[in-house]
């Protein structure tokens, strides 16, 4: 009797293990996976690629004197039903702005700011730190341009069984001194699928 039970348990375990969904790595370079209703990394890649090409191609980042602009990242509003870290878009754009050699990003201010820049300045007059190594006053460089934007979605009932979701990526580049807008663009990613699919995650 005992042997039979043991045999059964072993068989159930083996079967259960065989049925388990295998975990696979995504081929992010040539992903042939199906599209999903929510925004996935491919959508961010696509939106970022279009935005970068549009921004650099416009010549808005070319400084007349040949220097490099100092750019700060402003607020990127997520007005979708998804919990999106907008850095998923902005890091790609900031990286390419930096690598283009036309501008530098600032970590002193804006949504890409680094708290340590300010914390280290509080070390002034601290006896624990060599004051020659502490950043002096008026050493931070103010941004000349800012990038801000918005990601929002519209849900539309296409027919009884199908829904349409439109995701809009909007970015704008403005001059701090004059307030003039040097560049802006919008990328639309549209998806149509079953009403049963959810786009909020």
């Amino acid at each position: 009797m005992k042997a039979k039970v043991l045999y059964l348990i072993t068989m159930v375990c083996i079967l259960a293990a065989g049925c388990a969904q295998e975990t696979t790595m995504i081929d992010t370079r040539n992903d042939e996976g199906k599209s999903v209703m929510a925004l996935d990394y491919r959508d961010f890649d696509m939106a970022a690629s279009k935005m970068i090409q549009s921004m650099l191609g416009s010549g808005a980042l070319k400084k007349p004197e040949g220097d490099r602009y100092v750019v700060a990242t402003g607020r990127i509003i997520n007005d979708t039903t998804q919990r999106i870290d907008t850095d998923q878009l902005m890091v790609k754009i900031e990286t390419e702005i930096l690598n283009s050699g036309q501008a530098v990003m600032t970590s002193a201010i804006g949504s890409g700011s680094d708290e340590l820049l300010h914390e280290t300045r509080e070390l002034r007059n601290s006896e624990e730190f060599d004051q020659d190594t502490v950043a002096k006053r008026q050493t931070l460089i103010a941004p000349e341009l800012t990038i801000s934007g918005k990601i929002f979605q519209r849900n539309i009932s296409y027919d009884r069984k199908t829904q349409q979701i439109e995701y809009y990526f909007q970015l704008k580049l403005s001059d701090v001194k004059s307030g003039l807008r040097f560049w802006q663009d919008e990328t639309l990613i549209g998806k149509r699928g079953s009403n049963k699919s959810v786009s909020w995650q």
């Binding site: 970068i52 549009s54 690598n99 283009s100 050699g101």
Partner: protein, 143 residues
């Protein structure tokens, strides 16, 4: 009877010959433009079936590169969709430096493109680095 055949043929030839050639920059699509000998209610299904049978698709006519005012290499790819159906595909442009080595950028991802049947299309890409002097482009089906 022979006279009737002759008149019919003459009419067809005459109407075909008189057909006004549109400005090539303006594409008047099938169903919008007047029917032609090769595209009317009788011949259209045959032409569509034949096009599908021989597997007509996208053809690239030329690729032009130029330096933008900002100093980045710009690529313009022009082509035609030979098929009667809308062709959806993905493309990826990779940028190469003076040594022919690939430049890693966030812009070299698969992007979508759609070309309507029997229509020209254009793709524009901008290299995000000044080191880019050449390119290579790949395409794949849009699942």
């Amino acid at each position: 009877m022979k006279k009737l055949e002759f008149v019919l043929i003459a009419l067809i030839v005459f109407s075909y010959g008189c057909q006004k050639q549109n400005d090539t920059r303006i594409h008047v699509r099938e169903g919008v433009a007047s029917d032609t000998l090769g595209s009317n209610v009788v011949t259209r299904p045959v032409a569509h079936a034949f096009s599908a049978l021989i597997g007509e698709g996208i053809e690239v006519t030329n690729a032009v590169t130029r330096m933008s005012d900002a100093g980045f290499l710009e690529l313009y790819v022009n082509g035609n969709n030979k098929s009667y159906k809308t062709k959806r595909f993905r493309y990826r442009v990779e940028w190469l430096d003076a040594d022919g080595l690939q430049i890693e950028t966030k812009t070299s991802v698969w992007l979508q493109m759609s070309a309507m049947g029997k229509s020209p299309f254009s793709i524009k890409a901008v290299a995000p680095r000044k080191q880019a002097v050449d390119f290579r482009m790949d395409t794949r089906k849009w699942e």
